[in-house]
C-alpha cells in the first residue's frame, strides 16, 4: 500500500532533492494560530509535516519543545482538537504527508483502536511515538500498520548494527535518524558522523532516511541533506513561535510569519542548487 509519505518521497527522488520535514506543536500557542501556521507550511517549503501531540512529561524533549507543549496544554489543546486540526488542513491539501509525533499515554488513554480510526479518518499518514520501542510493538505499532498508517521509528547513535534490524523491522514510510544521543534542541550534530550513520542505516534498509535533532540553520539543512532523503527541523521552529509571542505568551500578528519565514529560509537548504551526486 502506498501512502502520502511514500508518494512524497518518490516525488522528491524524481526532483533529485531532499525534503524538509517541519515539526511544530499542535495548539501552540493556541489552536487557531497553530492551524494558520499549519496551513501555511507547504507553501513556505515544508515537504512533510510533523505535528507534536502535547504531553505534560516529554522525557526526550529539551526546554523549547517542553515549553511548546505546556503552552498548548494551557490554551486547552486536547487530542480531539489535534485531530480536528489535521482534518481542517486536509480540506485544502491532500498531498502533504502529516505525521503525528508524541508520547504514548495520551494515545493509550484516548483508546488505541479509536485513535487509529480517528487519525486515519482525519488524514494522518504516520505516527512517531517516542516511548514505544520495538519491544512494545504490540501496543500501537502493529495495530497502526494494520490500519494503514505508517509507523516511523527512531534510530539513534546507540542503535548498533545488531539492533538495527529489530528497529527497522516494522518501520514504514521513512526512518528517523536521531543525529545525537540527547534531547531535542540540544547540540548541533557533526555532519561527518551523521553521514556515516545514515550510510550504516542504508545498508540495512531501502526506506528513506530523515535526519533530525539539533538542526537549526539552512546551512546545516543543506549539509545534512547531501547524505539523506530529508532533514527535520523542530526546536528552531518552535523557538520562532515562542519569540513572536507577547509578554503574556499570546500570539501576535508576527507569529505565523515568523514561522513561515524561517521555514522558507530552511527550505532553501534543500531546494537550492541540485544535490551534488
Amino acid at each position: 500500500m502506498t501512502t502520502r509519505i511514500d508518494r512524497r518521497f518518490a516525488d522528491l527522488k524524481s526532483e533529485g532533492r531532499a525534503g524538509l520535514v517541519t515539526f511544530l506543536m499542535a495548539g501552540d500557542p493556541d489552536a487557531k494560530t497553530a492551524l494558520a501556521i499549519l496551513k501555511a507550511l507547504p507553501k513556505a517549503g515544508a515537504d512533510v509535516i510533523e505535528i507534536g501531540m502535547p504531553f505534560t512529561d516529554p522525557m526526550a524533549d529539551g526546554p523549547a519543545i517542553q515549553a511548546a507543549g505546556l503552552r498548548a496544554l494551557k490554551s486547552g489543546q486536547t487530542m480531539v482538537k489535534t485531530l480536528a486540526a489535521v482534518r481542517a488542513f486536509r480540506k485544502d491539501d491532500d498531498t502533504t504527508p502529516i505525521v503525528l509525533m508524541g508520547y504514548y499515554n495520551p494515545i493509550y488513554i484516548y483508546g488505541v483502536a479509536k485513535f487509529l480510526d480517528d487519525a486515519k479518518g482525519a488524514g494522518v499518514d504516520g505516527l512517531i511515538v517516542v516511548d514505544l520501542p520495538p519491544e512494545e510493538d504490540e501496543e500501537l505499532c502493529l495495530p497502526a500498520l494494520a490500519a494503514g498508517l505508517n509507523f516511523i521509528r527512531l534510530a539513534t547513535p546507540t542503535t548498533d548494527d545488531k539492533r538495527l534490524p529489530a528497529v527497522l523491522k516494522n518501520t514504514s514510510g521513512f526512518v528517523y535518524y536521531v543525529s545525537i544521543a540527547g534531547i531535542t534542541g540540544a547540540a548541533a550534530p557533526d555532519v561527518g558522523q551523521v553521514h556515516a550513520a545514515v550510510g550504516r542505516i542504508k545498508r540495512h534498509t531501502k526506506l528513506p532516511v530523515a535526519v533530525g535533532f539539533g538542526v537549526r540553520s539552512a546551512k546545516q539543512v543543506k549539509d545534512i541533506a547531501a547524505g539523506a532523503e530529508a532533514v527535520v527541523v523542530g526546536s528552531a521552529l518552535v523557538n520562532a513561535v515562542a519569540k513572536s509571542l507577547d509578554n503574556k505568551g499570546k500570539a501576535t500578528g508576527r507569529t505565523v510569519k515568523a514561522v513561515t519565514n524561517l521555514v522558507s529560509e530552511l527550505a532553501s537548504g534543500v531546494r537550492g542548487p541540485k544535490k551534488a551526486k
Partner: protein
Amino acid sequence: MTAPIQVNSFRTGPDERGHFGIYGGRFVAETLMPLILDLERAYAEAKADPAYRREMDGHLKNYVGRPSPLYLAERLTAHFAGAKIYFKREDLNHTGAHKVNNVLGQIMLAKRMGKPRVIAETGAGMHGVATATLCAKFGLKCIVYMGAVDVGRQQPNVLRMKAMGAEVRAVESGAKTLKDAMNEALRDWVTNVSDTFYCIGTVAGPHPYPMMVRDFQSIIGIETREQMQQEEGRLPDSLIACIGGGSNAMGLFYPFLDDRQVEIYGVEAAGHGLKKKHAASVAGGKPGVLHGNRTYLLMDDDGQIEEAHSISAGLDYPGIGPEHSWLHDVGRIKFLSATDKEALAAFQLCSRMEGIIPALESCHALARLGDIVSNKPKDHLMVVNLSGRGDKDLDSVAHHLGGKL
C-alpha cells in the same frame, strides 16, 4: 478495579519482557533501549555471581548496619489496645532510610559495568543522600536531580548530598517535585549514554528496574521473617508500609506474598484529601504509561499527567510501581491512604510515645495503624515498616504545626 484473580503464586513476576500482568514493560526512547538491555544482562550476571552477593552482604552488615532491628513498640501497642505493634527499623540504617539497600546493589552494579558517572532522582532526598553516600564510598561521580520545591523543603538532605561531593541540580520544570526530577534524570541519561548509570530510587521505571529494586529491598522482609520467628516463633499476621513508588513496601511485602494468611496494607498519600489534591495513584488514578512503565497514574481525561500533592516529598509522585498495580488488581495488597493532617498527627504520636522521630513518609503508614490494630486481638502481630527517620522533616513539620512541635 477488577475482581480478585486466582493465581498460584504472587512471586513469579515479571515475565521476560518486564510485565506484571498488564503493568510494567519498557516504554522508553530508542536511545535508552540498548542501555536498559545492557543493564538487564549485567544484573542477571551479577545475581548469578556469588562474589557479588558476598560483597553486598559484607557492606550491608558493616556499612549499612544490617540487620535492622525489629522493635516492639510497647507504648503504642498499649495506646491502641489491640494488636502487638512491631517496627522494622529501616530508619536506623546508615543514611537513615531503606533507600540505601537498593542503592548499594545498584552502585555495585555501576562499578561492575564500568560506569564512572551516576545520576539519580530524589524527592525527600533520602534516595539522593543514599546515592551520594555510596558514590563517595565507591569513588563515582554523582549528580542528583531534585525538584526545586523539594530542594526548599528538604534542605538538610541537600546539604548532606553536597557534603559528600554530589552535585544537586534543582529542577524547575513542571510542579518542581519528584516526577519532574525523574524527567530530568531521564533526559540526562539520554544525553550521557556511554558513561552514565541511572540509579532509580523506587520500584518503578522500565524493566528491569522494578524487579531489581524489589530484589535489593527484599532484605527487609527476609529479615523480618527471621526476626519474628525468633521473637514470637511464627510469622506476623499483618504488614503495613507507606507507598511512594513503593520500594520500602515491596521490600517488606515481597517475601510474604505467598503466605496468604498475612494481611498486607499499603498506604498512599491522600494529601489534602482524595477529593482534592493528593498523591494516591491507586485510589485516584487509572492505568497509563509514564517513566518507562504501565501503572496506575494520576491523570486527566486526555491522558495528561496530573501534579500530585503530599506533605511528604518522598510520596509526592503521581504514580506507583507496576508490581503494586498488579498486586492491587489481583487483590493481594489492600491499599489505604492517609492525609497530610493524619501524617502530622502520627508524627507527633510516634515521636512522643516511642522516642522515635519518623520520616513524614513513614508517618502515612503509622497514621492508618490505629484503625487496623484496634480491631485486632492482642496476639495479632503487626509489622510497620518504619522506612526512615524524620530529622529531615523537622523544619517542615514545625512550619505546618505553626511552630509548635
